[in-house]
């Protein structure tokens, strides 16, 4: 569908008619203030009626030049800035960054800390995926799943607030461990209870309400198909890549932390409702990842070891020797990479952030061509972008 559309002059062919009746492409500015662009994304469209002929994403409205700030603050201070990339799943961002610093500084992390990191990161991933479902449903015009998903996300925020202190931006991990241990007020039991509730009660509800709703399927299947090759070419990662049928997950295939100890599956898009790699596939991958995250959380909490939750240097500045390291982790929206070049000082020399949404969004330029305006909304929604990490 996408490749055979060419921009042609669709006006009258003969010259004399062309002077009376001229048709041209309509330039449409979707965003930066637009309800379906998930933030301040701007899409410059060229449309012919409802059909989109060209999409040019314009980003940068949230640009804060965090990478420059990183050169001015020390390694620990910058953790609070990593929270603000993907503000829907901050703990996974922390995880990506501390993994890079630990790689560079060769820090050992106690097992209990790793377990806590995994639990919080997976909770955060669930929260992010819930938002993805919610806003995708909203883009499709379904309001109610949005509120239901936010209701469950609220529970996660409460749980994370109890362990990390923040409601949205946690600043939970530090190189060499985590900041706080498990709180004493029955936190583990509450998390397990929530996870069970989510799996058994809430996800079936969402599935009935949204996933298997015929209108929703019609809107999303066979729409915005990202083939495997396109996904590789455009560096798509995370649920977008898996939606295209690629069984790849950093947690399993390039393991970091202790993910290789846990038993979980990698859901991939199988084209159940249409073609592999359509919007519905990307959506269902997120739904199934929530289930898998629940499994990981349950395993990590049931085997939570005793011991310290951080190394003793936690309160001291991190000593990082000169060198460079690229580390990638599976954040909620894809592969979060940090490329840190250290010059041996207290502050990083260069800290490049490879953010998942940045690469995922780019594919719109290719896949968005030939879709209808409504489908473009579905495509952007299914990519699940967060402008905070695109613009950085």
């Amino acid at each position: 569908m996408t490749d055979d559309v060419k921009i042609t002059n669709r006006g009258w062919e003969s010259q004399d008619h062309a002077s009376e009746m001229k048709s041209e492409l309509l330039e449409l500015n979707m965003g930066p203030q637009h309800p379906a662009t998930h933030g301040v994304l701007r899409l410059l469209l060229q449309t012919d009626g409802e059909i989109v002929y060209k999409v040019t994403p314009v980003v940068g409205y949230l640009h804060r030049c965090t990478e420059k700030i990183a050169e001015g603050v020390d390694y620990k201070q910058w953790i609070v800035y990593t929270d603000r990339f993907d503000y829907l799943a901050p703990v996974t961002n922390n995880h990506a960054y501390v993994t890079a610093v630990e790689k560079l500084a060769d820090l050992a992390v106690p097992e209990r800390a790793e377990h806590l990191r995994i639990v919080t990161a997976e909770l955060s991933r669930i929260a992010s995926h819930l938002i993805a479902l919610a806003t995708f449903g909203l883009d499709m015009g379904a309001w109610t799943p949005l509120l239901y998903c936010f209701r469950e996300r609220e529970e996660i925020l409460n749980l994370l607030e109890r362990i990390a202190g923040g409601r949205m931006l946690y600043n939970y991990m530090v190189p060499g461990g985590v900041r706080y241990d498990v709180p004493k007020d029955n936190w583990v039991a509450d998390v397990l209870e929530f996870v069970t509730m989510l799996e058994n009660k809430k996800l079936p509800d969402y599935n009935t309400l949204l996933t298997y709703n015929k209108i929703f399927i019609e809107r999303t299947s066979d729409v915005g198909i990202i083939s495997k090759e396109t996904a590789f070419d455009y560096g798509c990662t995370g649920p977008v890549l898996r939606g295209s049928g690629v069984k790849f997950d950093c947690r399993r295939d390039d393991p970091y932390s202790l993910y290789d100890r846990f038993d979980f599956e990698i859901p991939v898009g199988m084209g159940e409702m249409g073609t592999v790699g359509d919007c519905w596939d990307r959506y269902i991958v997120r739904v199934r990842e929530i289930e898998q995250s629940c499994r990981i959380i349950r395993q990590a909490l049931e085997t939570l070891p005793e011991g310290p939750y951080g190394t003793l240097e936690l309160k001291k500045p991190v000593k990082v020797p000169a060198g460079a390291a690229y580390s990638r982790t599976e954040a909620a929206k894809g592969e979060m990479g940090h490329y840190i070049i250290a010059d041996g000082g207290a502050k990083p020399f260069r800290n490049k952030v490879r953010s998942c949404s940045f690469c995922n969004l780019q594919v719109v330029e290719k896949v968005g061509v030939g879709l209808m305006v409504s489908d473009l909304v579905a495509l952007v929604g299914s990519l699940d972008i967060v402008l905070g990490e695109i613009d950085r």
Binding site: G60, G72, D233, A322, G337, I341, G344, R354
Partner: protein, 214 residues
């Protein structure tokens, strides 16, 4: 495949002298001459033994005074004053620009790192956006923030900053302009409201307008 083996294949293709291998504990890399980078990318992507079909990350770096291992001193890193505004300094950064390419193969499941260094006055590297489409935006970002020109890039516009922004912020000697499009960028402590001309100085105690508890 191990990095060294990958490098051997690469250097076989590029010929001696256009690439060097740097051993490193964490992340060994191949230093490729700038002119051959697109060639190297195409080879790494297409060779059936390597199949680097994903460009994970492309980073533009201002190696000011640092060697490849990160040793050395960069004096041009500007500190920040109390208000978060970068300090002024007249120092002009010297040294090379660099680009780092992190590659991953989904079929072979191996990683590789390429690095390119160019002289500061050249500051241009051939684009690899023809090899991996994802490089297009990464290169635009590197151009925008570091100011490395990517030759033959189809659409080398600023990515994150506004089209009329001056300078490239991630250069080590970057100084923030005083204003942009009439918006003052400096000397505005956040505590001071720039929109009320008679705002008291920031360090005056917050006055009676602090609302009561509620």
């Amino acid at each position: 495949m191990e990095p060294k083996a990958i490098f051997d294949l690469l250097v076989e293709h590029l010929g001696e002298g256009s690439a060097e291998f740097r051993e490193h504990d964490i992340e060994p890399w191949a230093c490729v001459s700038a002119a051959r980078i697109a060639d190297a990318g195409t080879f790494l992507r297409d060779d059936p033994r390597l199949e680097f079909n994903q460009l994970m990350c492309l980073s533009g770096i201002d190696w000011d005074g640092l060697d490849e291992n990160g040793k050395g001193k960069s004096t041009a890193i500007l500190g920040y004053t109390g208000d978060g505004v970068p300090e002024d300094s007249d120092r002009i950064a010297e040294g090379d620009f660099g680009v780092a390419y992190h590659l991953y193969s989904h079929t072979q499941r191996h990683k590789f790192t390429l690095r390119v260094r160019v002289k500061r006055d050249v500051a241009a590297v051939p684009t690899v956006s023809g090899v991996w489409s994802t490089a297009s935006w990464h290169e635009r970002e590197a151009w925008d923030l570091v100011g490395i020109r990517f030759a033959d890039h189809p659409d080398l516009r600023r990515m994150l900053l506004s089209e009329d922004w001056e300078g490239h912020p991630l250069r080590k000697d970057y100084r923030m302009p005083d204003q942009w499009s009439g918006v003052p960028l400096k000397g505005q402590p956040y505590s001071e409201n720039p929109f009320t001309p008679d705002a008291p100085a920031a360090d005056a105690p917050a006055g009676d307008d602090t609302p009561a508890e509620g």
